[in-house]
Structure formats: structure tokens, C-alpha cells
């Protein structure tokens, strides 16, 4: 066991050294190299990136664009830090807005690009809301490329119409809707929480609504305890969902995709998941009439009841790079309407104000896009905004409460014990 862990560590080190050597030789030429790093966006998207690179190279003689596409998981964990601390660090790299970006800024890897964005006009290509989590003290550190609402509650319109249920606006209406669906013999809500992030996202949003965004964020950064009356109160709402039989009984045994299928096959009326369900739904169940609503408002909650949970991401210019202007120019090309059209064709939802092809993008995707852009408050999901270890502990507690295994107080007590060694 331990052999292969360190073995792979060693491999990684060797790998990066070898990669480093390769790059050194290439940069020995006259060309300047613009290095861009990201998690692999899939073949169709890579083709678009390559196309944009070719265009950029022909418009800027003397500059070569060099991509590093890594496996998504690797990039998110060891990959990017390795690249940044390596010899040939990327000049432009993909990152998630919020906590992760703030860490890069603190570590000195993110350049303040406020003036460049203004002067080049690139900054005006995005709505103000698209910069959520990308600015610190009025300085902008990121060029937005995409946004995902990580949780809304999708529902089966046909079922809702038959039962005469409207989109619930409040938690009480939501519970009433669940009750009506349950009475008709159908599972009201399906969640596939095998990997913990699904309910983790949904209930994370609920937690932030009840305890307030600051308390939620501070708790996840271990600055405030999880064991508080507010958290207990929030989890009590969750416990109720299980006790009343509103969620599927195999919630912690099936994966997110299995749960997607249950919903798309019409076996459950509601499915709390992220915006990525839309393309899946169009492909797998084109005849399904699907709607969505944001988490209903919770009376007495201390958070912003209009908040949206989601992640925005974008490209960061490395503060240590000497190619800032080239990087900005590249992103300008990337954000142009022509590129956006290519990106749309490859399945992406461009985030520029004019790039979104409103006629050829699914209506639900557009509405979700707008929901995020117009959100008064954007809440970061536990597992992308914060330490993954704390997030896992919180998500475990969530799974225990929503699966009926532990009472809110017990789950929170155990959560406190789990994160205790991390408070140093």
C-alpha cells in the first residue's frame, strides 16, 4: 500500500522533472511561449482551444501557445500547485473563484489585472455578477470563463401539473409539495449521495440560508464551531425530510448518475443537482418536461434567502509571468463572439454578455446562467470553496442526517470531533 503511494509521488517528481527538461529545450528558441494550464475540458473543447491558439499565433508572430491539459482530479489537487511551483510555470491557468483563488492570491500566484481589463476593454465583456469571488479590495484577479449553479431543485413538470402543485417559494410550500407527491405514491425527491457531494451541495446551501453565509463560511474555515443552535436547527429541517419519507430510502447507496436516471425515468418528482443536468436530460430524456426552482426561502433564516449556490471559474494570469499582455490578448480572443460561437458549438455555455447564443442554447441553461449572473449572493459549495477535508467531514454529517442515521446534535458532535485535529 504505502509503496505505491510514495511510488507514485516519486513518479510525479520524476515526471515533472522530465517535463521540465522538455520545456527547457523548446524555450531555447526565439519564440516566446505562452503557457496555459487547465484540467482537461474534453476532446471537443480541446479542439476549440487549439483552434483559438492557432488564430492567436498567426495574429501574434513570435509567440507560441503551449497547453497543459491535465486530468481534472489531478489538476484540482496536486497538478496545478506542482505546475505553479515548477520551472516552467503556466502564464495563464484555470482556477475556481472564491476561496481557491484567494489562496492563489495569498501565495503570490495571481496577478492583479484590474488596469489591463479596463484598458483592453476585456473587462466590459462580462456582467458584473460574473466577477463574484474574483475581486479582493476592488482589485480583479480573474477573467471569467464559465459558471455552474451547483444546486437547484429540478422537478418533473408533468407530475407537478397533475397534482396541481406550483413551484414552491417557501420551505413550508416545499414540504407541502413533497407531501402531495408522496401521497400519490411517488418518491418526492431523489438524491444520489454515494460520493457525499450531491447532498453536500444541496444541504450546504440550506445551511448557509439558515445559519447565514458568514457563519457557514467561518465554520468551514474552522473559525467558528459547527456545534451551534443554528446548525442544529438547519439539520432538523433535513432530518424531517428523511423522517417523513420525502427522500429516496437508498440516498446514500446510489451515485449521482443513478439518481439522475431515476429522475429522468420519471420515478421521482424532484432532483436537487447542478446545472449540468440540463444537457444530460436533453440527451437522455428529451420528452421529459423539466423545470427548476432555487432552494425555497426558509423563514427565520439568517442568510440571504435569494442566494444561489454555485461556482464561477476563469483564467488567472500568473503574477510571476512576464507575458501578462499576451495573456490578456489571448483571453480577449477567447472571449470574442467568434470564439464563443465555437465554444457553444462544442457544448459550452459562454459567460460573456454577448457570447451566449440565446436562440440555440437550451432555455433552461440560459435561465440557470442568468440565475447565477443575477444572484444577490453566491454561496460556495463546501467541496470547491473550502478545505476538502473539512468539506468531507461536513458532507459526512449531512449524509448521516439526511439518511436518518444520526440526530442533528449527534452528527454535529461527531463532525466537531473529526475536524478537531485540523484546528492548529
Amino acid at each position: 500500500m504505502k509503496k505505491w503511494i510514495t511510488g507514485s509521488m516519486a513518479l510525479m517528481v520524476v515526471g515533472s522533472v522530465v517535463a521540465g527538461c522538455g520545456n527547457n529545450e523548446e524555450s531555447g528558441g526565439e519564440d516566446k511561449v505562452l503557457r496555459i494550464a487547465m484540467g482537461s475540458p474534453g476532446e471537443a473543447m480541446i479542439a476549440v482551444w487549439e483552434e483559438i491558439a492557432d488564430e492567436f499565433e498567426s495574429a501574434n508572430p513570435g509567440v507560441t501557445v503551449e497547453y497543459t491539459f491535465q486530468d481534472d482530479d489531478t489538476y484540482q489537487t496536486v497538478g496545478l500547485p506542482n505546475l505553479l511551483s515548477g520551472n516552467n510555470a503556466p502564464d495563464l491557468y484555470f482556477e475556481w473563484a472564491g476561496e481557491r483563488l484567494y489562496n492563489r492570491i495569498n501565495d503570490g500566484f495571481a496577478a492583479d489585472i484590474t488596469t489591463q481589463l479596463e484598458e483592453s476593454g476585456l473587462g466590459d465583456m462580462f456582467a458584473e455578477g460574473s466577477y463574484n469571488g474574483m475581486t479582493v479590495d476592488g482589485k480583479t484577479y480573474m477573467i471569467p470563463t464559465a459558471g455552474d449553479v451547483t444546486n437547484v431543485i429540478f422537478y418533473n413538470k408533468q407530475v407537478f401539473d397533475e397534482l396541481g402543485i406550483g413551484e414552491p417559494q417557501t420551505w413550508a410550500e416545499f414540504l407541502a409539495a413533497c407531501e402531495a407527491v408522496k401521497a400519490s405514491g411517488m418518491t418526492p425527491i431523489t438524491v444520489g449521495n454515494l460520493d457525499l457531494w450531491t447532498a453536500g451541495n444541496w444541504i450546504g446551501h440550506l445551511l448557509s440560508r439558515v445559519v447565514g453565509e458568514d457563519a457557514y463560511s467561518n465554520a468551514l474555515q474552522l473559525e467558528e464551531p459547527f456545534q451551534s443552535d443554528d446548525f442544529v436547527q438547519a439539520y432538523t429541517l433535513v432530518q424531517e425530510l428523511w423522517d417523513r419519507g420525502y427522500v429516496n430510502d437508498n440516498i446514500n447507496a446510489i451515485s449521482d448518475s443513478e439518481s439522475d436516471m431515476l429522475f429522468l425515468n420519471g420515478q421521482a418528482a424532484m432532483h436537487p443537482i447542478g446545472s449540468w443536468l440540463v444537457p444530460t436530460a436533453l440527451e437522455e430524456a428529451p420528452e421529459l418536461e423539466m423545470g427548476y426552482f432555487n432552494l425555497p426561502t426558509i423563514e427565520g433564516g439568517k442568510g440571504d434567502q435569494g442566494s444561489v449556490i454555485g461556482v464561477l471559474n476563469g483564467m488567472v494570469v500568473n503574477a510571476k509571468s512576464s507575458m501578462t499582455d499576451e495573456a490578456i490578448a489571448f483571453m480577449q480572443l477567447y472571449s470574442s463572439d467568434e470564439s464563443s460561437a465555437k465554444l457553444s458549438a462544442a457544448g459550452a455555455v459562454p459567460i460573456t454578455t454577448t457570447g451566449l447564443d440565446r436562440d440555440n442554447t437550451p432555455e433552461l441553461s440560459i435561465r440557470l446562467n442568468d440565475l447565477l449572473a443575477e444572484a444577490p449572493t453566491v454561496v460556495a459549495p463546501p467541496d470547491t470553496g473550502y478545505s476538502i477535508e473539512v468539506a468531507n467531514a461536513l458532507n459526512t454529517a449531512t449524509s448521516q442526517v439526511i439518511g436518518g442515521a444520526k440526530s442533528p446534535a449527534d452528527a454535529l458532535k461527531q463532525l466537531e470531533e473529526t475536524v478537531a485535529p485540523l484546528k492548529k
Binding site: M1, T6, G7, L196, T396
Partner: protein
């Protein structure tokens, strides 16, 4: 001079490869375990803190309980069931070769395939088990097999038995085949029936193999990973968390390489201690008299 050095020079490449792939990683893991380190950033020496944390880590400690339950269950479901099956297929009845092949088939399937297959079998909505239970009117027996902390671990043990019983059966089968036919013949003449032959002749005469089988089962128990990873990944509520799945979470998801190294070192010590213990116990009474 060169003559003296030449044997060492010949051995050098092999030694270097061994050192780089096995020796250095082991030593490094041991060294990492004293640091607070995320795998790439700054390393901070923290002495025995990681070990102290491990001994108070609820999930880590319970993962040992789970692995011991798993090992105990698989010794029965794999080795003992395998032994019983080997006894049955060596009775020389018609069609036993068909059973031999059928029972060995699961061993040939990749573990990942088996894991996914059984996830469908256990699925509470459309899985084979619950469907059958409902069909025969035993609705109250249906379970969310992999989502219930009381049944998840046993469900995994059963799959492990389903796969490896055939493997141990094959080993024991070959052992039993080597027993001389004369022994059976004289036993039959003395009026022995199949039960006697199994317990008094077949099992005692392959006792060495059975011991090896149990040892193999215990030690490979610590290496199981794929089945747990695919079927539950430690869930629900860490009730099927075993050391390897937890290690992967700590090192590759939590990015606590230092802490993970300490966990790995402790696991190694536990396995080594068990190996020594088994070795001591195994020395006694190896002689077989009949």
C-alpha cells in the same frame, strides 16, 4: 581492482532499480510520517503528532474493525466454503467438472466488473435480490443493502466469497486429487461414507494447503481495495471504510501526505506483527499422523 569490483558492478543496475522503486519509497514514507505535508508545499516537522492523531482517529480505528470483520467473514465464505466445494466436486459424481468450471468463472472476471455487477444486484429499486424478494411476497425483507450500515459490510463480504470461493476450491481440488485412490478404497471397504471421507481423509491430508489458504486470505484481506472502492467507497457513514480506502481519501483527496504516510506505516506494522504471530502459531504440530 576492477576484478574485485566487477561482481558489484554487475549487480549495480538491479540494486539501483530495487532501491529506487522499493527501498527509497519505504524509507521516504517513514520520513514523511513525521511531517505535516500536503505533497508539494512546505514540509513542517511535527514529530509524533501524526501518530497521535491516528490513534485518536475514529474513522481510522473503525476501519481496522471493519477489515477484521471482513477477514473473519472471508475466511469462512472463501476458504471454508471453498474447502466444502472442493470436497463436493471430488466426490466423482456426474457433472462435477461443469460445477468446477462454473464456480471458478467469477475468479476470472476483473474485480471492477464484479463490483459493478453486484452493485446492480444489490440495488434497492431494481436489483435482483429485492426484485426476487418482492416477487415471492417477502417485501418486508427488502433492504437498501449497500445504504444500510448494518448490511453494507456483510454484503461486500458475500461478494468477496462469491468470487474467491472458486479460487480456494481450485487450490484444494488439486490437493485432493493428489491423494491416492487406495486410501478411499480401503475406507469404503471399512464402511466409511462421504462425510467420513471428507472430514477424516480429504481435509486432514491437505491440512497444509488449508493453512496456507487461510494465511493467504488473511494477508490479502489487508490488500482489498477495488471491491470496497467501487461498491461503497467506505460509505454509508464510514461503515465500510477500510484502511486502504481511507488512505486514498487522506492522501489524494485531503492532500495530507504526511498524515497518510503515518497511517501507512502503522498499517505495515500491524501486518508485520500479524505475519510474525501467524508464523509462530503455524510452527506447532505440523506433523500429520494416520
Amino acid at each position: 581492482m576492477l576484478r574485485k569490483a566487477s561482481p558489484y558492478l554487475f549487480a549495480l543496475p538491479a540494486v539501483l532499480v530495487f532501491a529506487f522503486t522499493i527501498l527509497v519509497p519505504i524509507v521516504m514514507t517513514f520520513a514523511f510520517s513525521f511531517y505535516d505535508w500536503n505533497g508539494y508545499g512546505e514540509m513542517r516537522f511535527i514529530g509524533l503528532d501524526n501518530y497521535d492523531r491516528a490513534l485518536h482517529d475514529r474513522i481510522y480505528l473503525s476501519s481496522y474493525t471493519h477489515i477484521f470483520i471482513y477477514i473473519a467473514a472471508t475466511v469462512v465464505l472463501e476458504v471454508l466454503v471453498g474447502l466444502g466445494l472442493a470436497g463436493l466436486i471430488t466426490m466423482g459424481r456426474k457433472g462435477s467438472s461443469l460445477f468446477r468450471v462454473a464456480l471458478f468463472t467469477p475468479v476470472m472476471l476483473p474485480m471492477i466488473v464484479v463490483s459493478f455487477l453486484w452493485r446492480f444486484v444489490y440495488n434497492s429499486d431494481f436489483g435482483l435480490i429485492n426484485t426476487v424478494l418482492r416477487a415471492v411476497g417477502l417485501d418486508s425483507w427488502t433492504q437498501v443493502w449497500l445504504g444500510n450500515p448494518d448490511t453494507a459490510l456483510l454484503a461486500i463480504c458475500f461478494v468477496s466469497g462469491w468470487v474467491y470461493a472458486g479460487f480456494y476450491m481450485t487450490i484444494f481440488y488439486s490437493g485432493i486429487q493428489r491423494i491416492s485412490k487406495d486410501v478411499y478404497e480401503s475406507a469404503y471397504l471399512d464402511g466409511a461414507h462421504e462425510g467420513h471421507i471428507f472430514f477424516r481423509i480429504k481435509v486432514p491430508m491437505i491440512r497444509g494447503l488449508v493453512k496456507t489458504g487461510i494465511m493467504l486470505c488473511v494477508l490479502t484481506g489487508f490488500q482489498s481495495f477495488d471491491l470496497f472502492y467501487v461498491m461503497t467507497n467506505g460509505g454509508p457513514y464510514n461503515s465500510t471504510e477500510i484502511v486502504p480506502t481511507y488512505l486514498v481519501k487522506v492522501v489524494f483527496s485531503h492532500m495530507s501526505t504526511g498524515y497518510g504516510s503515518a497511517l501507512a506505516v502503522i498499517l505495515t506494522l500491524v501486518i508485520a506483527a500479524l505475519g510474525l504471530l501467524a508464523n509462530k502459531l503455524g510452527r506447532k504440530g505440523d506433523a500429520l499422523e494416520y
